[in-house]
């Protein structure tokens, strides 16, 4: 029995994260202190980050002469892994306060989130459908537990259940899709599938399989019509977990989407129109419903649905005259990088505010500029970035970068839909920002101490990291837009 050769250094980012998960669990068991688990988890993530960069271009777990490898670290994969690693670290920082006040059990929490992250690190480097779908399961299954773990929130279980059911159904559908693709081609490796897709026309069954495969991706990135779970689940979960779902889990989904679309680039006439419709619906529905939100986390949930729609646009444009390539992936990755920073930042502020004042509804944010001016400015900046309004330059520039693709491809309706959606989006971000700077309703509120003065410097650090990144991206947008070229 020959076992595939294993290059541990190439696999290291994934391994470090997975082992870090175990270490965190053990550390908490040994010390009995949740913060230690958080520290271990952070250390693992921080250690994995340079390793991911080092591994760029490597591949391992190759089987013999046909050289089909299970683990291939393309620049694209590294970029996604970096997003995952850094974002998870930020989420851990945010969640550290939850661990401190035992809203969540520390060891288990860190273990689960790192398990999930290891899946997300693995997913972009997979090289066949089997590993990909397993990796995606690794990403999502622990998150349901994470959602349900929240103590003192009776709706947490409901939130977890919704995501769970949605997930297993979409996985089942996708698995069926994989089986059909496997049936029509006889292979599951991306390279082999790609050559089949290039050489042959899509069969009806293969097409159906491809469409069904998109289901799980749709679920992960919360694209309409696979999005309905997201607002409910985000609301029921702790804010850091919601942030995790909206960034890391989505990044894994986009990793899968990029891999699948690359593999089936030859069949783009099948998936591109579907992705285009998904993108259009997601942008419009996401933004339109977000308009009506009065709950901060729900608003961010719908906003992240809408944002996913923007990220889909470059891929959707393959329906036109552009081909899958650097022009498309650069846009997707660029947007994802910026999105991770600004969206985590917004969630971070919401987490801090919820912790300090118990604020949930947008109305509670009124006069925040008086109570905590820096946080208010930071949140306004993140919202401006999400909206794509200067001074949130990076948000604007990645939107421009994304919009170029459909214009280039001649997919006009999509460009127009995105334009309209952006304008709708601006409305609700602004409405929220307006609340921040409105005078507090009672004058004595000015400078008054927070109701629940629970401060957590780690959460603040998380916000600061996001702020620094977003500002840096705004000043030097190439850091985000050109990330993939540097790896």
């Amino acid at each position: 029995m020959t076992i595939q050769s294993i290059d541990l250094l190439t696999l290291a980012p994934t391994l470090v994260v997975a082992l870090g998960a175990l270490a965190a669990l053990v550390a908490e068991l040994v010390t009995g202190r949740g913060q230690v688990a958080v520290g271990v988890g952070l250390a693992a993530l921080v250690a994995a980050t340079p390793l991911a960069v080092v591994a760029s271009g490597e591949q391992t777990l190759c089987s013999g002469a046909d050289a089909a490898c299970s683990f291939v670290v393309s620049p694209l994969a590294v970029a996604l892994q970096l997003i995952v690693l850094v974002s998870t670290a930020v989420v851990l920082l945010m969640a550290s306060a939850d661990v401190t006040d035992r809203t969540v059990p520390g060891g288990e929490f860190v273990f689960l989130i790192l398990c999930s992250a290891s899946g997300a690190v693995l997913a972009p480097a997979t090289n066949d459908l089997v590993t990909l779908i397993v990796a995606l399961e690794v990403v999502s299954l622990p998150t349901f537990a994470l959602v349900a773990l929240r103590r003192g929130e009776p709706r947490a279980a409901e939130a977890a259940l919704k995501a769970f059911i949605f997930s297993i159904v979409s996985v089942a559908v996708s698995l069926y899709g994989i089986s059909l693709l496997y049936g029509t081609t006889g292979v599951v490796g991306f390279d082999q599938l790609a050559s089949v897709a290039t050489l042959t026309d899509p069969t009806p069954l293969g097409s159906a399989g491809l469409v069904m495969l998109l289901a799980v991706i749709g679920f992960k990135i919360a694209a309409v019509p696979f999005h309905a779970w997201a607002p409910d689940t985000y609301q029921g979960a702790t804010v850091p977990v919601a942030a995790y779902l909206s960034v890391v889990s989505k990044a894994a989904g986009f990793a899968a989407l990029l891999l699948v679309t690359w593999t089936f680039a030859g069949w783009s006439e099948i998936w591109a129109p579907i992705v285009a419709v998904l993108a259009g619906l997601t942008m419009l529905v996401g933004n339109a419903v977000a308009l009506r939100q009065r709950h901060a986390v729900r608003l961010l949930a719908w906003s992240s649905i809408a944002q996913a729609g923007y990220i889909l646009v470059p891929l959707a444009a393959v329906a036109g005259s552009v081909v899958w390539g650097p022009g498309v992936t650069g846009a997707v990755i660029g947007y994802l990088v910026a999105y991770a920073a600004m969206n985590l930042g917004a969630f971070g502020v919401v987490a801090v505010v919820a912790r300090r004042t118990g604020a949930e509804s947008l109305a509670d944010y009124r006069g925040m500029a008086w109570r905590s001016p820096w946080l208010a400015v930071a949140l306004a900046f993140f919202l401006a970035s999400l909206a794509g309004l200067p001074p949130g330059l990076i948000g604007l520039l990645v939107k421009v970068r994304v919009l170029i693709v459909p214009v280039d491809a001649g997919v006009w309706w999509l460009a127009v839909v995105m334009a309209v959606a952006t304008v709708i989006g601006l409305a609700y971000y602004l409405a929220w920002a307006a609340q921040l700077f409105r005078r507090p309703e009672t004058a004595d509120n000015e400078g008054a101490p927070e109701r629940l003065a629970i401060k957590s410097w780690t959460s603040t650090v998380a916000v600061a990291v996001c702020l620094v990144l977003t500002v840096a991206f705004s000043l030097a947008p190439s850091l985000a837009l050109g990330l993939i070229d540097r790896l």
Binding site: L389, P390, L397, R401, I404, D408, S478
Partner: protein
Amino acid sequence: MSSSWLLPALLLVPLLGALVMLLAGRRAEPWATWFGVGVQSLGLLLTLVVLTQFSQAQSGSMQMVVEADWIPELLVDFRLGVDGISLPLVALTSLLGWCAAVYTVRRVPEPGRARAFVGLLLLLQVGMLGTFMALDLILFFLFFEVVLAPMWFLIAFWGSGERRRSANTFILYTVLGSVVMLLGFLVVMVDTGSADMVVLANGLGAEMSGGAQLTAALLILGGLAVKAPMWPLHTWLPDAHTAAPTVGSVLLAGVLLKMGTYGMVRIVVPTLPDAMVSIAPYLAAFAVVGILYGALASYGQDDLKRVIAFSSVGHMGFVLLGISTLSVVGINAALFGNIAHGLITGLLFFVVGGIKQRTGTTTFAGLPRGLYAAAPRLGFLLGFAAVASLGMPGLAGFWGEFLALVGAYHPLVPERWFYRVMLILAAIGMVLAAAYFLKVLRRVGQGPVPEAQLDDVATDEWLSWTPLVALTVILGVAPFLLFELTDPAVRVVVESVAGALP
């Protein structure tokens, strides 16, 4: 060139000023407005240096150009420069910014918060100046967008009446416009592979196919037309003006509107000449409808600020008419009209703001009559500004409009007789403009002598308004001062269009 630090400095000064305001704590509140004056004075000083360094002999080409790679992924370079077309607008922006800062010292509108107010004004300044100096499509777009958030804050937080609604309408409407404009830019960039405005204007844009040019031109013009605003895309303007605080209105009318028409001259006309030649008559028609509509609508308003807002629609109609002729005279007229409207409408909004501060209202129903007697100097300034605005020869407002008509007599495009009809209609619009301003003066300035006196123009008000009055007169009797600056640059632009004619 050794003066290449000037333009970045011009942007950096207000930007750093805004940052200082952001970082300074509450302790900065007492000196914030003075700080604003200092920064704007420095900016104005730099602008004067730019004016002296600027070589008028070469005003047809870009000067003091600064170039730096910025975002290669988007073809975006950080490229600034000024020529005869942009320099007057830069100067106007610096001047109005300074006036606004001086005015603010003693008159921070309700609810105070001078630090934020000044910071936003400085940020606004960055966007406005940047728009006029940018030589890269995306950079232009970015600066174009930079003004939105500060202006939104100014209206939504320091405004009056339905300020929040107006601010939202303003920003959503104009963002829709600028997104459409962006689509047009992207068409150009995708087609030519360049975002360099100079290269595009010097023939690269003209190499685009007719269809692509037309698409791009319609999109870009559509976006800029919202900003200008061109009828029927003007709806955001009256509401925004009514709600905005005084300096907000001044800068909105004085500078922001110009960004639209400037963009047309700077980008659309030279870059997309073929498309422009075929669109021009339609643009002229919309412009003339705007002139007449603006005048008629102004007459029907019951609020001073709304009257002025609709008068802007009319005045910008003349600017658009000038552009639509594509002739040297017409485009010169448009640029002149931009500046003149900036000075005069700026002054009008200052004066109306002063009236509002004293009486608490701007509606005809609420305003006391007989301002000429109640506050003779304020009344005089209102009369002066109104007369300048209605196009009195000898004051700045006239030449832009008159030469737009001259341009329309000899348009570069073949539809000569159509333009002559437009000419007649536009001239009728000039008379209608007189009607509504006389109505305003009759209603506000004249009337039974009031018993109560109002505070007359204060020293700080004189200080901030006098430059506008003076320039209105100077440009009115010596319009060549400006034309000599713009003309060489306009000739370069028109040459590029002339090549597109059969």
